[in-house]
C-alpha cells in the first residue's frame, strides 16, 4: 500500500513537473552539469593517473635509474669544435652492480645518436647499446624474434632489436626479423621486436621526430663501432661529447630497500663526480608522488563537485520555493480534502528528488559521453569507474532531499484556510 501510494506520488509528481517542461528542464541543468563534470573529471583524472602509474611501474618500481645529464655550465666558448666529457662511467656501473648491497643486478645503457634506415625510410630513434638482462629489468615485452643474448655481446655481433614504433615505421608491410637495417654507417640484422610501451613524461623525444622509438644493439658492438665519442653537429658548431654510459638501471631485491639504494647511489655519485652531470630517478618515489598528486587532485575535484552540486541544489530549491508559492491554492485544496502535512511534504519532496535525479541521470549519461569523446578524439586514456555513476546518482538524490526539505516544509506548514484563499 505504502509502495503503491509512493509510486502514484512519483507519477503525479512527474506529471506536475511536465506541466512546466522548460522550467523543469532548466532546473535540472545545475545538477546535470555538476554530475557530468564530476564524472568526466574523475574519468580523466583516473585515466591520467593510471597511465602515469603504469608508466612508472614499467620503469620498474623496484628499480633505481641513474642517468647522465649534460651539465648546463661552461657553455660559453666560441670554439667551433670542443670535447665535452661528462656523465656516468664504467666505474660507476661497476660500483653499483658489484658493491651495493640490495642490488640484484644492474644494466648499463649507452645511447647513440645515429640514424636508422631501411631502404628509403629513415628514423632517428634512441639507439641503445645494452645487455641482455635489459628486458627483464625494465619489464619490456618481446613481440617477435628474440632479444639480445650473451653470445651477441661476446661475438660483438651486428644485430639489433627494434622497438615497436621503429619496426612499424620502417617495416609497415612486413616482419623486420631477418632484415638488415643501417645504423650510422653499418648494417645490422634485426633479430627481434618489442611490444610498445607507454610514453613517459621524462622521456625526451628528439625534436623534429614524430616517431620516437628505440633500437637495441649489444653493448660491445656499440662500443666497437661508435667508441665513447659522440659527434653532434648543431647549427654550425660541432660538439664532441664523451659519455661512457647514459643510463644505469639497478634492480633492487626488495621494495623496502629502494630508498637505501637510491640514497647510496646519490652519495656515491656525489663523491665521485665533480659536477652534477647525473640524475637519480627512483620510480617508486615517482609512484608515491603520483599517488599524492592524485590525492590532491581528488580533493580539488571533490571541492569543485561539492560547489557545483551546491549551486545546482540551490537552483532546485529556488524553483521549488517558487513552485510552492505558485501552488499554494493546490496545497490548500489538498489539505481541505484530508491531506496531512506529511502528504504535502512527500509530494514536494518527491518532485524535487525527481528533478534532481532526472538531472543526475542525464548528467551521468553526459558525464560518460565526455570521456568517451575525449578518448576518441583527444587520444587520452580515461577510466569511468563503476562507482562514479553510482556515487553521482546517490549524490543527486541526496541533493534533492536536502534542498527539497525546506520548500516542502514551507508547503506543509501553510494554514489550510489561508492557502485556500490564496489567488
Amino acid at each position: 500500500m505504502i509502495r503503491g501510494s509512493l509510486l502514484r506520488t512519483v507519477r503525479l509528481g512527474v506529471r506536475s513537473l511536465l506541466l512546466h517542461k522548460l522550467r523543469s528542464a532548466l532546473t535540472t541543468l545545475g545538477v546535470l552539469f555538476g554530475v557530468s563534470s564530476v564524472i568526466a573529471m574523475l574519468a580523466i583524472g583516473e585515466g591520467a593517473s593510471e597511465e602515469a602509474q603504469e608508466a612508472i611501474r614499467r620503469l620498474g618500481s623496484q628499480n633505481v635509474i641513474l642517468r647522465s645529464v649534460k651539465p648546463s655550465d661552461n657553455q660559453v666558448t666560441d670554439q667551433t669544435t670542443r670535447v665535452l666529457t661528462y656523465g656516468l662511467t664504467h666505474d660507476d656501473f661497476a660500483r653499483v652492480a658489484e658493491t651495493f648491497p640490495g642490488v640484484v643486478r644492474a644494466i648499463p645503457i649507452r645511447e647513440l645518436p645515429d640514424e636508422v634506415r631501411f631502404g628509403s625510410r629513415a628514423l632517428r630513434p634512441r639507439v641503445l647499446a645494452t645487455v641482455p638482462s635489459y628486458l627483464d629489468v625494465t619489464g619490456r615485452v618481446l613481440h617477435e624474434g628474440r632479444f639480445l643474448e650473451e653470445i651477441d655481446d661476446r661475438e660483438v655481433a651486428n644485430v639489433c632489436v627494434l622497438g615497436y614504433e621503429v619496426a612499424r615505421h620502417l617495416f609497415p608491410f612486413q616482419t623486420p626479423v631477418g632484415e638488415k637495417v643501417r645504423i650510422g654507417s653499418d648494417y645490422f640484422t634485426v633479430i627481434g621486436t618489442l611490444l610498445p610501451r607507454v610514453r613517459l613524461g621524462s622521456d625526451r623525444p628528439d625534436p623534429g621526430e614524430d616517431v620516437t622509438g628505440e633500437v637495441f644493439i649489444p653493448l660491445k658492438t656499440g662500443r666497437r663501432w661508435f667508441g665513447d665519442m659522440i659527434l653532434r653537429i648543431r647549427s654550425g658548431s660541432r660538439d664532441m661529447e664523451e659519455v661512457q654510459l647514459h643510463e644505469i638501471v639497478a634492480e633492487v631485491d626488495l621494495a623496502e630497500n629502494v630508498p637505501f639504494v637510491a640514497a647510496a647511489c646519490r652519495t656515491m655519485l656525489d663523491r665521485e663526480h665533480t659536477e652534477r652531470d647525473y640524475e637519480v630517478v627512483v620510480p617508486l618515489e615517482l609512484l608515491l608522488r603520483a599517488q599524492e598528486t592524485k590525492r590532491i587532485f581528488n580533493i580539488v575535484l571533490g571541492s569543485i563537485a561539492g560547489i557545483s552540486l551546491l549551486v545546482g541544489g540551490i537552483g532546485i530549491m529556488n524553483v521549488m520555493l517558487a513552485t510552492v508559492t505558485e501552488r499554494t491554492r493546490e496545497i490548500g485544496i489538498r489539505r481541505a480534502l484530508g491531506a496531512k502535512r506529511r502528504h504535502i511534504v512527500t509530494q514536494f519532496l518527491v518532485e524535487t528528488v525527481v528533478l534532481s535525479i532526472g538531472g543526475g541521470l542525464l548528467g551521468i549519461l553526459l558525464g560518460m559521453a565526455i570521456p568517451a569523446g575525449i578518448e576518441r578524439w583527444a587520444d587520452m586514456r580515461t577510466i569511468v569507474t563503476p562507482t562514479a555513476p553510482l556515487l553521482a546518482f546517490g549524490i543527486s538524490a541526496g541533493v534533492g532531499v536536502v534542498f527539497g526539505l525546506y520548500p516542502a516544509w514551507r508547503a506543509a506548514v501553510m494554514d489550510p484556510v489561508e492557502a485556500l484563499r490564496h489567488e
Partner: protein, 238 residues
C-alpha cells in the same frame, strides 16, 4: 437550538468563538455560537458579508479550530485535535464544494474525484469503481479522462461535488457553490443538491442569494458572528 432532536446529531457547536487578532484589532468572527446540525438536514447559511459564514464553514469542516468552545463531528471533539487528527477527520467525514471549483489542474476528472481517498489511512479497495459511479451520477461518465481546463464551470462544479461525496462524508459543505455560475447552470447544481438531500445527505450551503436559500430545507441567518434567525421551512408535518 434545534427543538426537534429527531435525527442523530452530525455536527454540534457549543459556545464556539473564533477570534482573529490583527495587532490591536480583535475581530470576533464567531461569538458564542451554539448549534446542532442533524443527519439528513439541508441548511442554507445566509447573512451579510463579513457575518462569519465562511468562518463557520471552516470550523465545521475542521479546517480551523475554535478559539474557545467545543465542536463535535459525529461525536468526535475537534477542538483538542492536532493537525494530523483534524486532517484525518476531514478525509473521513467532510466533503467540500468551493465557489471556484478548486479542482487540481494536472489531474483528470476521475483522479480529481479520487483525491480524498489518497489521503485516507486505509483507502477503500473499491475507490475507482466508486469514483466511476459518482462521475456517472453527476453526468460526467463520458468525460473521465478530461482535465479541469477542458470542462465548463458547471461541469467542474459537478466534478467537485462528486469529489465531495467519494468518502461518503457526514457533512457536505458548500461555500457559494453557485457563485461563479450562470443562473441556468446554478439551477442544475442546486437540483443536484436536492437529489443528494433526497438520498439522505447532510448538506450546508453558504449563499448570498435568497433564491438559493429558498431551495434549502432550512435557513440559518448570521449577523456579526451570531445566529440572527433560524427558519425551518418545512417543519415536520407542516
Amino acid at each position: 437550538m434545534s427543538g426537534r432532536g429527531q435525527g442523530r446529531p452530525v455536527a454540534e457547536l457549543e459556545d464556539v468563538s473564533r477570534v482573529y487578532r490583527l495587532g490591536e484589532n480583535v475581530v470576533k468572527a464567531l461569538d458564542g455560537f451554539s448549534f446542532r446540525f442533524e443527519e439528513g438536514e439541508y441548511w442554507a447559511v445566509m447573512g451579510s458579508s463579513g457575518s462569519g459564514k465562511s468562518t463557520l464553514l471552516n470550523l465545521l469542516g475542521c479546517l480551523d479550530r475554535p478559539t474557545s468552545g467545543s465542536y463535535r463531528v459525529r461525536g468526535e471533539e475537534s477542538s483538542a485535535m492536532d493537525d494530523d487528527a483534524l486532517s484525518d477527520l476531514r478525509s473521513r467525514e467532510i466533503g467540500f464544494v468551493f465557489q471556484s471549483y478548486n479542482l487540481i489542474p494536472q489531474l483528470d476528472v476521475l483522479e480529481n474525484i479520487m483525491v480524498p481517498l489518497f489521503y485516507q489511512d486505509v483507502p477503500p479497495a473499491d475507490g475507482p469503481e466508486r469514483a466511476l459511479r459518482l462521475a456517472e451520477r453527476v453526468g460526467l461518465g463520458d468525460r473521465l479522462g478530461h482535465r479541469p481546463l477542458e470542462l465548463s464551470g458547471g461541469q467542474q462544479q459537478r466534478v467537485a461535488i462528486a469529489r465531495a461525496l467519494i468518502n461518503d462524508p457526514a457533512l457536505v459543505l458548500a461555500d457559494e457553490a453557485t457563485g461563479n455560475l450562470d443562473s441556468a447552470t446554478a439551477v442544475e447544481i442546486l437540483n443536484l443538491f436536492d437529489e443528494l438531500h433526497g438520498e439522505g445527505k447532510t448538506i450546508l450551503l453558504v449563499t448570498h442569494e435568497p433564491a438559493v436559500g429558498e431551495r434549502a430545507e432550512n435557513v440559518l441567518r448570521l449577523a456579526d458572528g451570531r445566529i440572527a434567525e433560524v427558519s425551518r421551512a418545512r417543519e415536520v408535518g407542516a
